[in-house]
C-alpha cells in the first residue's frame, strides 16, 4: 500500500498545532509548504511570521523563519530581501497585522515593489487576542469590541487593502481566494504558486489574500464557518485576480 498524500517536506511532522479545530490557518500552512516543495523554494526560503494566531508558525514550517513585531512583517521582509536578494522571502500575516497596525508597511512595501510575497489570511477578526474587530470585519458583525455589530457610523467600513495594493505599479500579482471548499483550496494553492513564481522570476511584489474561517471567534461550527466564508464573506470580498502584470504568462 502506498500513501497517496505525502507529508509536505517543509512541514514539521506529527506536531499538533495550537490552532483551533477547523481553523483555516492550518490549511493555508499546508498549502504554502506544498508550494515551497513543488517549486523547490524551501531551501532558500525565509518566512516572516506575524503577531497573530500564526505567531507560532515557526513550530510548523520547516524552513528558516523570523517572527515580527505586530504589523511589521513587510518591513522585516524588505530588510531581508534587500540584504540577500537571492533568498526567497515571504510574509504570513493576518488581517489585523497587515491591514490595521501594519497599514503603512503594507502600502509602502508594495509601492516600492519589494520583491517579496505576502500571504494574507483574512478571517475578518483578531483571532489571537480573542475576537476583536478587524479592519476587515463585516458590517453588522458582532465582535468583542463591536458588541452591537460593526456600525459604519463609528467603525467605518471593511477595508479592502488588497484592492488598494493591487493598484500599485510595483504590485505584479494580487489575487483573492478562499479556503472554504475543496475547489477554493485548490485555487488557493494555485494562487500561492503564481505569487511565489513572481518573486522567483524576479518580477516584483505579489500578494495573495486568503479568506479563512475562524470558527472560534465567529462562534460557529467549523462547517458553518466554511459556509459563511462562501456565502457571506465573499460577497464583501469578491474572489479573483486583482492584478496580474506578468508578461508573457498565459493568463487563465
Amino acid at each position: 500500500m502506498q500513501l497517496k498524500n505525502q507529508w509536505p517536506l517543509y512541514y514539521k511532522k506529527d506536531v499538533v498545532s495550537h490552532y483551533c479545530p477547523g481553523c483555516g490557518h492550518g490549511i493555508v500552512h499546508r498549502l504554502v509548504a506544498e508550494v515551497l516543495e513543488d517549486m523547490d523554494l524551501g531551501k532558500r526560503a525565509v518566512c516572516v511570521n506575524p503577531a497573530g494566531c500564526a505567531v507560532l508558525a515557526y513550530k510548523y514550517f520547516d524552513i528558516d523563519m523570523i517572527e515580527s513585531a505586530h504589523g511589521r512583517g513587510t518591513a522585516i521582509a524588505t530588510g531581508i530581501k534587500r540584504s540577500r536578494p537571492d533568498l526567497f522571502v515571504f510574509t504570513y500575516q493576518g488581517d489585523g497585522d497587515l491591514a490595521a497596525i501594519g497599514t503603512a508597511e503594507t502600502i509602502h512595501s508594495a509601492n516600492r515593489g519589494e520583491h517579496i510575497t505576502v500571504i494574507f489570511v483574512n478571517n475578518a477578526v483578531y483571532g489571537m487576542t480573542g475576537g476583536q474587530m478587524a479592519p476587515t470585519t463585516l458590517l453588522g458583525m458582532k465582535t468583542t469590541t463591536t458588541p452591537g455589530g460593526r456600525n459604519p457610523e463609528f467603525e467605518g467600513y471593511p477595508l479592502h487593502i488588497t484592492d488598494i495594493v493591487a493598484t500599485f505599479p510595483g504590485t505584479v500579482y494580487a489575487e483573492r481566494v478562499a479556503v472554504d471548499s475543496p475547489a477554493g483550496i485548490r485555487k488557493t494553492k494555485k494562487a500561492i504558486a503564481n505569487a511565489f513564481q513572481v518573486q522567483a522570476d524576479g518580477l516584483g511584489y505579489s500578494i495573495v489574500e486568503v479568506l479563512s474561517a475562524c470558527p472560534t471567534n465567529w462562534k460557529m461550527s467549523s462547517v458553518d464557518s466554511f459556509k459563511w466564508v462562501t456565502e457571506v464573506m465573499t460577497k464583501e470580498f469578491p474572489l479573483g485576480v486583482l492584478t496580474d502584470k506578468r508578461k508573457g504568462v498565459e493568463k487563465k
Binding site: K4, N5, C20, G24, P182, I185
Partner: protein
C-alpha cells in the same frame, strides 16, 4: 492510477483505497466528514485524548481516493493509501 477493476458491475466491491484517520491528531472539526462526497467518514462517539470527537472511517468501501478529505483537513490528520 488504476481504473475500476470491475467496471460496469453493480455489486459492491471493496475499495482499492484505505482511509486512515490518525485519531490522536484529529480535532474533530468535521470538515472531512462534510466534504467527502462518498460519506466515508463520520464523527466518532468517543473522545480522543485531546477531548475531541474525532473522525472515523465508517465506509471505507465507498472511497474513491479523491483526496478531498486530506485537502480540507487543517491538521494533516488523514492518510489515504492506495493498493
Amino acid at each position: 492510477m488504476q481504473s475500476h477493476q470491475s467496471g460496469g458491475e453493480m455489486t459492491k466491491t471493496k475499495s482499492q483505497y484505505k482511509v486512515i484517520v490518525r485519531e490522536e491528531y484529529c480535532k474533530g472539526c468535521g470538515l472531512c466528514i462534510e466534504f467527502c462526497n462518498k460519506k466515508v467518514l463520520a464523527e466518532s462517539q468517543k473522545l480522543n485524548k485531546m477531548g475531541y470527537h474525532y473522525a472515523e472511517t465508517v465506509n471505507n468501501d465507498e472511497c474513491v481516493g479523491c483526496l478531498i478529505c486530506t485537502l480540507v483537513c487543517p491538521d494533516v490528520v488523514i492518510e489515504v493509501y492506495s493498493e
